[in-house]
């Protein structure tokens, strides 16, 4: 309840702010709704340029005396059934009015007796009215009254809840977020049923006026971080927010890095899990991707499913992911360094095989690797942007032309193709696309350093990479936590994972005053053999 009040207050504040902005105040006569119905309709037509998707429908309320009203809504944004059945029909078939009815009573009557829709709100100024109208509500103008009513009729065609395509799950909830912020918030609420799940909303974007909500669990999230998120979101002054990426790029700690410092996901269970650790989710209307802050480097190697599987399996998979990340980072670079500088480290037989394969290759290993890597990147980009039907054609062309023909023509060596494909597969196997793509960029730096200084160059680039990662912060939390600064209990949940009963505390650097995650003695114990009251067992053999 408290949160609701807060939300309303916030909303008013933000509206007042926008009122002052210059773009709103141009060609506007007065900010208040007039008493004359025709004048009001005139204003709407003028402000919207007589746009054809605006439906202006006059409705008469009652017969004797009748009150002239007009309903305004935007086609497609409203739920047609609600408008027709519960609004228009209710108004037309309404019992007769009293003879002497004051204007105030008409409004009250419409609110209390006529409209059979949940949300209804009185409006008196135009800015508010347009915001309501644009978000899919229906406006009722009443002749002679300078107050309009906004009826909540949001609806229209939206994508229904579907399975996630970017974070596919094997075990766990299949549903993924949709483009509707309301649906998305509700999906998380369905998982976390506590009044401490608080939501704050605001509109960002001077033109788009996109709904943005931040969600956190009161007490578990740290107040400093919440305050910081609020501050950074308020600071945003941009004309449009088309995707959560806009918000992400405007609130991250440092833009001078290829590594993401804000996590995003389209799975409600992922968001819920993060909220329980004390993180803050940022919902943006119009996108299924929800931002999560603060994000640590290690988070990008984890998937919600790690906690659904048993710990040994998850640990093995996480170790594998670490190896995968390193392969995708330094795979081709190691090949270059090993074949052009430190040939002694290649086992003799392998060295002979590679030497034989490279015999006819006209390029140095670095150029060869560069050609293959860039070719692969082109293929990948083409595969993503193309319609699905053509995608398979591309893979055939890629496999045949690049794989087979290039080798047969002697332009690249088979080993190089193996290395590049391994790297490519590895970069797809990283759970987070955001980190995989930055690893791809860094890979080229590694390749370059390997080509010029062999392993020494690679080690130096690696040190710089580690220094850089250590210098990053996400909303004030050091990026490499809990590895650096090292926190022992949490480090056990990084490249391996403890059994679930071992998670007693929430992350120290992220969570607020409520640190205890679970009770003591959560370790399951089998019952003592003799105390087991199973008659079948008591008989013995």
């Amino acid at each position: 309840m408290f949160s609701f009040l807060k939300w309303k207050k916030k909303k008013k504040n933000s509206d007042n702010q926008q009122e002052k902005s210059p773009i709103q105040s141009t060609d506007k006569l007065s900010n208040n709704i007039e008493t004359s119905l025709t004048l009001n309709l005139e204003v709407i037509k003028q402000r919207t340029g007589n746009s054809t998707d605006f439906v202006i429908r006059p409705v008469n309320l009652g017969q004797h005396p009748k009150v002239k009203t007009t309903i305004v809504y935007i086609k497609g944004l409203v739920d047609n059934q609600t408008v027709n059945d519960f609004l228009i029909e209710a108004m037309i078939t309404n019992p007769t009015l009293q003879e002497q009815i004051t204007q105030q009573e008409v409004v009250d009557m419409i609110v209390k007796d006529v409209v059979a829709v949940g949300g209804i709100k009185k409006l008196s100024d135009w800015d508010e009215l347009f915001t309501e109208l644009m978000s899919g509500n229906t406006i009722i103008f009443i002749e002679g009254i300078s107050v309009a009513l906004s009826v909540s009729t949001q609806g229209g065609e939206r994508r229904s809840i579907q399975e996630s395509t970017t974070n596919v799950s094997i075990r766990g909830s299949k549903e993924a977020f949709t483009e509707s912020i309301g649906t998305n918030i509700a999906m998380v609420r369905r998982i976390i049923n506590t009044p401490d799940l608080w939501i704050e909303s605001m509109k960002i974007g001077k033109m788009t006026k996109t709904d943005v909500s931040i969600m956190y669990i009161n007490g578990i999230a740290r107040n400093e971080i919440i305050e910081e998120v609020r501050k950074r979101l308020k600071k945003i002054d941009i004309d449009g927010v088309l995707e959560s990426g806009f918000i992400e790029q405007l609130i991250e700690d440092q833009t001078n890095t290829t590594f993401p410092t804000i996590h995003h996901t389209d799975r409600p269970d992922g968001v819920a899990g993060n909220l329980l650790e004390g993180r803050i989710a940022i919902f943006v209307n119009g996108t299924p991707f929800v931002l999560i802050v603060p994000a640590l480097f290690i988070d990008f190697f984890q998937s919600p499913e790690d906690y659904y599987e048993r710990f040994d399996i998850s640990s093995a998979i996480r170790l594998l992911r670490t190896i995968i990340f390193f392969i995708s980072l330094i795979g081709p670079a190691v090949y270059i360094a090993a074949t052009t500088f430190q040939q002694e480290m290649i086992p003799t037989k392998l060295a002979i095989i590679i030497a034989n394969q490279r015999e006819s290759v006209p390029f140095p290993a670095f150029i060869e690797a560069l050609i293959m890597e860039i070719t692969f990147e082109i293929l990948r980009e083409a595969g993503i942007r193309m319609p699905k039907a053509i995608g398979s054609t591309i893979s055939i062309v890629g496999a045949l032309v690049i794989g087979q023909a290039a080798i047969q023509a002697g332009i690249v060596s088979p080993v190089m193709v193996i290395v590049v494909s391994m790297t490519a597969i590895a970069s797809f196997a990283t759970p987070s696309y955001a980190v995989a793509i930055s690893a791809r960029l860094v890979r080229f730096i590694f390749m370059f350093s390997a080509a010029t200084f062999g392993f020494y160059g690679m080690i130096l680039v690696f040190i710089i990479l580690v220094v850089h990662l250590s210098s990053l912060r996400s909303f004030g939390v050091p990026y490499m936590t809990p590895l650096a600064p090292f926190i022992r209990e949490e480090a056990e949940d990084t490249i391996v994972r403890r059994p679930l009963w071992g998670y007693k505390k929430r992350p120290k650097m992220i969570s607020g005053r409520n640190k205890v995650k679970q009770g003591e003695n959560q370790k399951p114990n089998p019952p003592q053999p003799r105390t087991m009251t199973n008659s079948a067992n008591e008989k013995g053999d």
Binding site: Q342, E344, P347, Y456, V466, V467, S470, M480, P485
Partner: protein, 369 residues
């Protein structure tokens, strides 16, 4: 002083990486023959005593680095002159360590590459790191410490399973008595690598819990001492004393001797990885000490500004300090410990501590009366 704090664990890690820096590179304490590992361990004890001196000074002045409390103890003029000499000392040793690593890379891996190219790359990386400040250095240390540990453990396992250890090489123990061992301790291992922990007199003020300084310092020193002794003992048991005393980089030869399962051989890259990482920390921390010393001495607020000019000086110094590697090694083993390390690591801090002790007692009495 930049506004930064490091934790006790980070201090421990930094001390560890700093200490093993060049110590695993060179044939340390080989004058003590097969008892080199013992000389290292005795040197460790001495190093702990030295750390006690630095820590006592730190507990008198917990908020300021060595170069600054020097001025409080000795007065502004004398203190400033001495602080300047300390900055020069740190700078000189940084250049020496940098030279060590450049030479190692050229001798073992890149024979045709000029020294300048090797060093300039390292200096660039160090300058980049230093500009990020001590917190980032400490965090980098924590991450690379994990990697170093993994490398170390896998190397030891590989050496053991490839069956090249001959423990009989470590016998006879104390062939000529304790004398040569003690002599090695007081001409080498006490100062290098353990006395070099004086660099942390510049870094201790950043510690967030002053009470844990002693524990973290001793643990870091102890761990590094054990690792160095272990590596020396391993080198001796694999290569034998004769071979080590003739080689520049015995650990490299030890790793080259590994042959396992037909394809794990010539693992020189492990040596390069571990020494470059450890060397990077040694250079960075020495360089950082000289950087904040300079900033402190000349009252420069933003010490990061100094990184580039000092880096350039470091680079030139590293190339000009010796004309060939033999000269460099001779200076490092014969001249530097006695004529440079001894006064800067032992005598001056010792005197400072005595003066500080009496000064503080006087002040305390004044306060009490």
């Amino acid at each position: 002083m930049e506004r930064a704090k490091i934790s006790a664990y980070q201090l421990l890690v930094l001390i560890f990486l700093f200490e093993i820096g060049t110590a695993i590179l060179v044939p340390l304490a080989i004058e003590a023959k097969q008892d080199a590992w013992l000389a290292v361990l005795i040197g460790l004890v001495g190093g702990c005593c030295l750390f006690w001196i630095y820590h006592s000074l730190y507990s008198y002045y917990p908020d300021i680095p060595l170069t600054e409390y020097m001025q409080r103890i000795l007065g502004s003029v004398l203190g400033k002159v001495l602080a300047f000499f300390y900055v020069l000392y740190f700078m000189y040793i940084t250049a020496r360590v940098l030279r060590d690593f450049g030479e190692m890379l050229i001798i073992a891996f890149y024979p045709e590459t000029p020294l300048f190219a090797m060093n300039v790359l390292m200096v660039l990386v160090v300058v980049y790191t230093i500009r990020k400040g001590i917190e980032v250095i400490a965090r980098t240390g924590e991450l690379l410490f994990i990697i170093m540990m993994l490398i170390g453990i896998s190397t030891i396992v590989l050496i053991i399973i490839s069956g090249i250890i001959e423990t009989s090489n470590l016998e006879p123990l104390l062939e000529k008595g304790l004398k040569p061992v003690i002599k090695t301790v007081f001409t080498q291992t006490l100062f290098f690598p353990f006395g070099e922990v004086i660099v942390f007199a510049m870094i201790l003020p950043y510690l967030n819990q002053a009470s844990k300084a002693m524990k973290a310092g001793l643990l870091g020193l102890g761990l590094s001492g054990l690792v160095i002794a272990l590596i020396m003992a391993m080198n001796i048991s694999v290569l034998g004393v004769n071979l080590i005393s003739r080689s520049h980089f015995p650990f490299l030869s030890t790793i080259q001797t590994i042959e396992f399962a037909g394809f794990l051989q010539r693992l020189d890259i492990i040596f390069m990885l571990s020494t470059v990482i450890a060397g990077f920390f040694k250079i960075s921390l020495y360089f950082y000490a000289s950087l904040i010393g300079t900033a402190n001495l000349f009252n420069i607020k933003n010490s990061a500004q100094l990184a580039y000019p000092l880096g350039l000086i470091l680079l030139i110094l590293s190339i000009t300090i010796a004309s060939n590697f033999s000269e460099h090694v001779y200076e490092g083993l014969q001249i530097v410990p006695l004529y440079v390390h001894l006064p800067f690591q032992v005598i001056i801090p010792g005197l400072l501590l005595i003066i500080a002790f009496f000064k503080n007692r006087k002040e305390q009495r004044k306060r009490n009366s």
